[in-house]
């Protein structure tokens, strides 16, 4: 479909409307991330039969309940290794993985590091809502210091992790951060991520008004969406700021974009060598 395909056409093509309404709470940003993902994929004009959606477990990892892509709902934290098997077994497939912050970097943290390191051509869309929403708002690896959650009733004392920095350090060749308030930019970031050859990670900041917002007195859902204007900053602007000025602000945009050998392509070369009877280079 065109870059500006109408929502209703997209909904008909990519969503099982008989599964609506979604389970997401009013004001949750997850539906926006799901729609941005669909729009990003749609722009590429791919054969939809060849696009596979892999999810872990959590509020984010229900997007595939509604989308018409062939999908795997894996075990909690195991979306990336499952997706790795899919992609390696059939490199013709476009594999898009959705995970939440806990799924991705707490229980699935080890897999994240190694998927990045391997530079396998998967696109991970990480919905970061700063807590475990589905289970009632427990502290997560991205929960800000001092925040109140159902398991940090006296304030969170664990410093949060920066998912994008971990992905970059581990070797991901495309890393971006988006926020649902900046929907057009988010669609662009996801489109680029899917297009990128190699491991792509797009962290998306998405508010959880029902549990995290309410418990931390962050205001209405609309207020939480608008607050993304305050605590995110375009990556180009961020480069001109001192660390002190950057405190409390998350750079938004493409953080890493480089071209390095991709795992399944390297594997194809390895197979060719093995079939010539040579053990290695």
């Amino acid at each position: 479909m065109s870059k500006n395909a109408s929502s209703s056409l997209l909904v008909d093509k990519y969503f099982y409307t008989h599964q609506f309404p979604t389970m997401w709470c009013p004001g949750c940003g997850n539906g926006t991330v799901a729609m941005a993902t669909v729009r990003g994929i749609d722009r590429l004009g791919l054969d939809i039969d060849k696009v596979i959606h892999v999810a872990g477990i959590g509020c984010s990892s229900v997007a595939h309940w509604y989308t018409t892509f062939t999908a795997l709902q894996s075990a909690h934290g195991r979306a990336l290794p499952s997706a790795t098997g899919i992609k390696l077994a059939n490199p013709e497939l476009t594999v898009v993985v959705t995970m939440g912050d806990g799924d991705c970097i707490a229980i699935g943290g080890n897999h994240l590091i190694h998927a990045c390191r391997r530079n396998i051509d998967l696109t991970a869309v990480v919905y970061n809502n700063f807590n475990y929403g589905m289970t009632g708002g427990q502290v997560g690896p991205t929960t800000p210091l001092e925040s109140l959650t159902s398991t940090t009733l006296y304030g969170n004392i664990e410093p949060p992790v920066d998912i994008c920095k971990v992905a970059e350090a581990a070797g991901a060749t495309y890393v971006a951060r988006g926020a649902i308030y900046y929907i057009k930019e988010l669609i662009d970031l996801i489109e680029k991520g899917v297009r990128h050859k190699g491991f792509s990670l797009i962290e998306v900041m998405t508010p959880c008004p029902t549990v995290f917002g309410k418990r931390n007195a962050l205001g209405s859902a609309a207020h939480m969406w608008k607050a993304q204007k305050e605590f995110t900053i375009p990556v180009k602007k961020a480069r001109d700021l001192t660390p002190d000025q950057l405190k409390g602000k998350w750079p938004r945009g493409v953080l890493v974009d480089k071209d390095l050998p991709e795992f399944t392509e390297e594997y194809a070369k390895l197979m060719a060598r093995a079939q010539k009877g040579r053990a290695g280079k």
Partner: protein, 383 residues
Amino acid sequence: MEHKGKVTLMQGNEACAEGAIAAGVRFFAGYPITPSNEIANVMARRLPQVGGKFIQMEDEIGSLAAAIGAALTGAKAMDATSGPGFSLKMENLGLACMIEVPLVLINVQRVGPSIGMATSPAQADVMQSRYGSHGDYATIVLSPSSVQEMFDLTVRAVDLSERFRVPAILLADQVIGHMRQNVRLPAYEDVKTAYRREPDVPPEQFHPYRGDAKGVPPMAKFGTPYHWYANSSAHNEDSFQATSDFVVSKALIERLTNKIEKNRQEIVEVRGEFLDDADIVVLAYGCTAIAARGAVLRAREGGIKAGYLRPLVLWPFPEAEVKAVSGKAKAIIVPEMNMGQYVHPVREAACGGKAEVFSLGRPGEVFSSSEILQKIMEVKSVV
């Protein structure tokens, strides 16, 4: 290199890997662990030669997850592990049962619990292989007693997993995995295994979780016009979420279990000797079966009417075969390298027959035929 229809000296783990290649396995994910390492080592060399994919994953959990992903795309996939690794597989084993992914998982058993003894044999994962993941499900578990069977039963595990859309476990042990014996290898092109039944209706009429008469649904490859959803949550026949619907989830759990349990006559395989007139039957599996057969032969030489029953498939349990023995014999002895595991379903199946069931379960070294013969003599004096 392919050994075409000849006799070759091989190690058990190597025979397992070659059996997998012969059976059409073209994806292997693994993680280093003793005493199963040689399986991954051989697969790393062989798979690229035959156009297959090998990956060493970051951990045991990831390797079974990757095998599941590969199987969904249509590949015959395998993973191999031991001891603590098998414990780490349990979550994804349950996932594979739930989403009905055919694959083969090898467990070369070592001494536990925990890290235990990495290089020593045990048979203490028998119950874990059947009940280790949470919730109700059924799987298929095969038990090789020779290097030849490491090859043959790997082939059979592939075949059964594909026919029943279920993970099949080859429950080997360190002795059989590391033993070297002559193996008669067939020409690989003559090795025939099933491939999952694919849908024969147009995509819009495809019900990914509607079982056939045996309870096995057709399976479409990921990446085809058959869009479906491999759903780890309770799901209906069309794979949609049914997480608050007991009617749907009950039907699903019953089908997942019954497609194995109700078709056990197609799966179960036992070998018996001297059963016609046996008073005392030794029921053994895996490496222990070698000593058990030796003990039975020696007992026969001594004039004792001993018999031998060996299940090659541990699960589903060979209920009819054990019942038949318990209806005639006076005693069944179950030697096993654990504190007594398989003896329990044997006792349950024998209940109502004539035979009394004796456990000879203990951890430690490999059984000798003398130890089992001694038990036969003891039992003879009380039955």
